[in-house]
Every structure is written in structure tokens, then in C-alpha cells.
């Protein structure tokens, strides 16, 4: 079953196309804005640049409803566990954009308190340079991300996931079977011992009464 799903055919590739079309054109960002880059992101949202042109209309402040984690600004060690948790709360599929020099590498804050790049904590899909990045650069990153999403295959990912799950299930059943057998053997042995004991007891009792 899995081998079939991995092969591109007319159904899977067109399904991929539709799924990717939907995903690329409704990327809802989660602006994890901490510093200067967040202000530039605000400029990107409004009037002149208008992020909603490429379908990122809704800026969502909850990780459950968003697709793109946009880390805009310096991440300090105090902030790191929170960023990590937010990333883990996001539902698949999820992508991460590191906006600005600080998020990419720590920027010019090479210091005791700043994380040298968020890729120490979470995986990153697109990096944007600049301190802060211009709105144009941000758009460029969004286009890059869209290209990346278009190359992904939903069916392949699903097949892999199914494969993993099947393997997991198989392994688990085998384990359970082995456990059950062991358990049964143990029980049988126990029961045998119990019967033997009883028999011995009976023999003893019979001897006693005989005497």
C-alpha cells in the first residue's frame, strides 16, 4: 500500500496540487515579534505594502490557528523556552521564518543574554537578513516559502506518516504478543506449581488419615 502511494500518479499529483495551492495562498502568520523587526512587520501589514495581497490576511496570535511562525526580533535566553513551546504548540504543517539579523544569528548582540540564532532552538525554513529587514525583503521571503510549499508533496508526507504508523503498530503488536506469551507461560508454570503443591498436600493428608 505504501509503495503505491509513493509513486506519483494522476490522483495523488492533482491532490498535491490542490492541497499546495490552498496552503500557499492562505499562510496565516503568527508574528512572534519581540523587537524592531516587529515594527517593520507592522508596516508590512498596513497600507503601502499590504500583506493580505498574498493571502496572509489574518495575523493570528495563537499558535493553534497559524501556519507560519514569524520570529521577528532578538530572542534572549529568557525568551527561548517560550518560543520553543509556541513552536511545539503549532499544528502541522508549520513553517518558520527568521526575520532580521537577530533571529538569524543573534545580530550584533553577541552577548551573554542573546541566543545566537533561533536555529539553536527550532528549525527554520527561510532566513531574512537586514537589521531590520525591509518589507520588500519580507515579501521575498514569503514568496520563497510559497515556492518551498509548492514543492512539497502532501501524499508523500502522508504515506511516510502512514508507514511510520504501520511500523509502529507492527512493532507494538509484536511486543504485545511476546508479552502475552511470556505472561501465559509464567501463569502456566505458576498453575503447575500450584497443582503440584495441592497434590502433595493431598498425599500428605491421605497419609495422615491413614496413620
Amino acid at each position: 500500500m505504501t509503495a503505491e502511494a509513493e509513486k506519483p500518479n494522476i490522483i495523488t499529483s492533482s491532490l498535491d496540487f490542490i492541497v499546495n495551492w490552498g496552503r500557499t495562498n492562505s499562510l496565516w502568520p503568527f508574528p512572534y515579534g519581540t523587537a524592531c523587526c516587529a515594527i517593520e512587520f507592522m508596516s508590512t501589514e498596513v497600507g503601502r505594502y499590504d500583506l493580505s495581497r498574498i493571502g496572509s490576511e489574518y495575523v493570528r496570535f495563537t499558535p493553534r490557528q497559524s501556519d507560519v511562525l514569524l520570529v521577528a526580533g532578538t530572542i534572549t535566553y529568557k525568551q527561548a523556552p517560550i518560543l520553543k513551546r509556541i513552536y511545539e504548540q503549532m499544528a502541522e504543517p508549520r513553517w518558520v521564518i527568521a526575520m532580521g539579523a537577530c533571529a538569524c544569528s543573534g545580530g550584533f548582540y553577541d552577548c551573554y543574554c542573546t541566543v545566537p540564532g533561533i536555529d539553536h532552538i527550532i528549525p527554520v525554513d527561510v532566513y531574512i537578513g537586514g537589521c531590520p529587514s525591509r518589507p520588500e525583503a519580507f515579501f521575498d521571503a514569503m514568496f520563497d516559502l510559497q515556492k518551498k510549499i509548492k514543492d512539497e508533496s502532501y501524499m508523500k508526507q502522508r504515506a511516510e506518516r502512514v508507514k511510520e504508523q504501520l511500523e509502529m503498530i507492527k512493532a507494538k503488536t509484536a511486543e504485545a504478543k511476546a508479552n502475552a506469551q511470556e505472561f501465559a507461560q509464567e501463569k502456566v508454570a505458576e498453575f503447575k506449581g500450584f497443582v503440584k503443591e495441592k497434590e502433595q498436600n493431598l498425599v500428605k493428608k491421605a497419609q495422615f488419615w491413614k496413620e
Partner: protein
């Protein structure tokens, strides 16, 4: 209203303040830590002075300062007057490395609380009588005091889990006159396994 120079002469007479020669642009008085609270009380309440705003508290580490004699640390207080616009005055106390103690200004100025917490965080100077001396800017697992000159700038320290604010909240409730009967657990502080493994790598 007194000028800064007149305030200094008053302090000199009353508390034996010394002039800080390094400050060539304003007036800075060096006072001993024992008198600090009295001096500040005088500056704040005296009808002719009325330095009613504490502008800033800065810690200074003189470890690598050329030709420096005397204690290693200093805490500098900047005041200004709202009642008498344009009047500024600075106080300085010298703190030796052995004692590291300065009386707190909490109770006199409301913002002294956070400023002192910051100085404690960055320099390790302990403010006697401070109600809640915790770190302000660095995280709870941080060891050392980063703005001391002997702390390497790139010595990084990871934090494994988020800061715990419930004790502070309970303290605040008690300050407001409530009595905590039953404590509650903060969600998420105990299940930090998934954070610890990944973030410390």
C-alpha cells in the same frame, strides 16, 4: 529654592559629604552608606530642596578603571526636581567588594524597587531592607553578575524553563492584605521534560 551647589554645601555641613571630582559637568556628592537614607530623606522633604523624583540608579564597577583607588563598586543616584524645574543632583555611595551592602531607598521613592533589583542583578550589590530582591533582567537560572568587569561578555547561560511568578504573586497578595490559605500549582512548570532535553543540547 537652593541651587545644586548650595545643596552640596548643606550636605557637606550636615552629613560630611564629599565632592566627586570626576563629575565636572554637574554636582555629585559622595556620602557614606550609613547616612544614605537620611541624606535622601533630607533631599526629598526639605522645603528648599524638594528633589522629588529619583531619575536613575546606576551601578559602576571600577575594577579596570585606570588609577582608581578606593572601593571597587559605586552606586550612583540621579535626582531631579519637578517642583523646581531644571534642578538636578547626583549622589554616590562607594561599596567595597567585601561588604556589598547599601541601604535601600524603597519606601522613599516608588521606582527605587525596580532600579535596585536591576543593580542587584547586574552587579550583585545587595540592598539592605529591600522587600523583594530578585533578578530583574536576567533569568532565574543565571549565575553571576554580567555587568561586572570580570564577567566575560560571551559567557552564555541557557534557561531550561520559564520563570516562576507565583511566589511573587502570593507576596503581592499578602502586601495587599490578603492571606493565602491554599496555594495553586503553576501549569507547565513541572512538565518541562520536553523542553529540557531539546533546549539544552
Amino acid at each position: 529654592m537652593k541651587t545644586a551647589e548650595e545643596i552640596f554645601t548643606a550636605l557637606e555641613e550636615k552629613f560630611g559629604a564629599k565632592r566627586e571630582t570626576l563629575d565636572k559637568w554637574g554636582v555629585t556628592a559622595i556620602v557614606s552608606t550609613g547616612y544614605l537614607r537620611n541624606v535622601v530623606q533630607f533631599l526629598k522633604d526639605d522645603a528648599d530642596v524638594k528633589l522629588d523624583m529619583l531619575v536613575d540608579i546606576a551601578g559602576i564597577d571600577y575594577l579596570t578603571y585606570p588609577n582608581h583607588e578606593g572601593p571597587r563598586f559605586a552606586v550612583s543616584y540621579s535626582f531631579k526636581s519637578i517642583a523646581n524645574p531644571g534642578l538636578r543632583f547626583r549622589l554616590k555611595v562607594l561599596v567595597s567588594e567585601n561588604s556589598l551592602k547599601v541601604p535601600t531607598l524603597c519606601g522613599l521613592y516608588a521606582n527605587a524597587n525596580w532600579y535596585e533589583r536591576e543593580v542587584y542583578d547586574q552587579f550583585g550589590i545587595v540592598f539592605d531592607g529591600h522587600p523583594d530582591l530578585r533578578r530583574l533582567l536576567n533569568h532565574v537560572e543565571f549565575v553571576g553578575h554580567p555587568l561586572r568587569k570580570d564577567y566575560p561578555a560571551q559567557k552564555r547561560q541557557w534557561l531550561s524553563t520559564n520563570d516562576y511568578l507565583l511566589p511573587a504573586l502570593e507576596k503581592r497578595l499578602e502586601d495587599l492584605g490578603y492571606k493565602v490559605v491554599q496555594r495553586s500549582k503553576e501549569v507547565g512548570t513541572n512538565d518541562n521534560e520536553f523542553l529540557e532535553g531539546s533546549i539544552k543540547e
